[in-house]
């Protein structure tokens, strides 16, 4: 099914607004670097599930590209990693960088496997 550009924009935008607000909510309750790792892990788990789920491209745009895309963040992660390097040293920065990709990768595959297990 093809989604018209206007509908796609609305879906991605509304998903993005909700994703950003949810990330902000998590950020108010968890300290900086931990909150980034948390949203990136949860968002990757959700995207893994969305990618494997038998849903249409309309839902995938809103939930996947919009919500999961905006709930997780690369820019805050990159800035925090650079700051960790200058404040605490390269070792701390390496821990931030490695933990994000390791945890998010496992979360994504787990989300995908869980949904495949349910629907497959």
């Amino acid at each position: 099914m093809t989604v018209s550009p206007l509908v796609a924009t609305a879906l991605v935008g509304v998903g993005g607004a909700l994703g950003a607000a949810s990330r902000h909510w998590v950020g108010l309750r968890t300290e900086g670097r931990r909150s980034i790792l948390l949203v990136n892990a949860l968002g990757s788990l959700a995207l893994g599930a969305v990618s494997a789920a038998p849903i249409g491209s309309t839902a995938a745009l809103g939930l996947g590209v919009g919500f999961c895309g905006a709930f997780t963040t690369f820019s805050s992660f990159a800035v925090e990693t650079v700051r960790a390097a200058s404040e605490t040293g390269n070792r701390a920065a390496a821990v931030v960088a490695a933990s994000n990709i390791a945890v998010a990768l496992v979360a994504f595959l787990l989300g995908s496997l869980l949904v495949t297990g349910v629907f497959g």
Partner: protein
């Protein structure tokens, strides 16, 4: 400010714009690549998973956020542009999804290149923003 409904509204509006802009970059870069290569690749969420669009958004957004955090004066700007728009313009979940879709070894290279250019961009943004202050 950041805990108020107004703060959440600013973040949401920024998030709307950031996500839409990321999607536009992804579609735009994907279109250019498709025209150049005219070959198929692995597909993710209806698009071709080269990861190129996500990489462009992540690197540009990391530079801009570094710049903003050293220059932005008010809470409103930080919430709307930083937490809202730039953090939503960039993405980690789609980045991981693209890396998985690319498989090995391309996916590992994709992560390495994204990390190297993303960190360099953030450091540059922080350095440029922090200069002459």
């Amino acid at each position: 400010m950041e805990r108020t409904p107004y703060g959440f509204l600013l973040v949401s509006l920024g998030g709307f714009l950031g996500a839409v802009a990321r999607h536009a970059v992804d579609v735009g870069v994907g279109g250019v690549l498709a025209a150049v290569w005219s070959g198929g690749g692995p597909t993710v969420l209806g698009g071709t998973a080269t990861g190129a669009g996500t990489l462009v958004a992540n690197v540009a957004g990391s530079f801009a956020l570094g710049l903003l955090l050293t220059r932005a004066s008010g809470d409103r700007t930080r919430l709307f542009v930083g937490t809202g728009a730039l953090s939503s313009f960039t993405t980690y979940s789609t980045f991981v999804s693209d890396a998985v879709a690319l498989g090995t070894p391309a996916g590992a290279w994709y992560v390495a290149v994204s990390y190297a250019t993303g960190f360099a961009a953030a450091a540059l943004g922080l350095a440029v923003g922090g200069r002459d202050r």
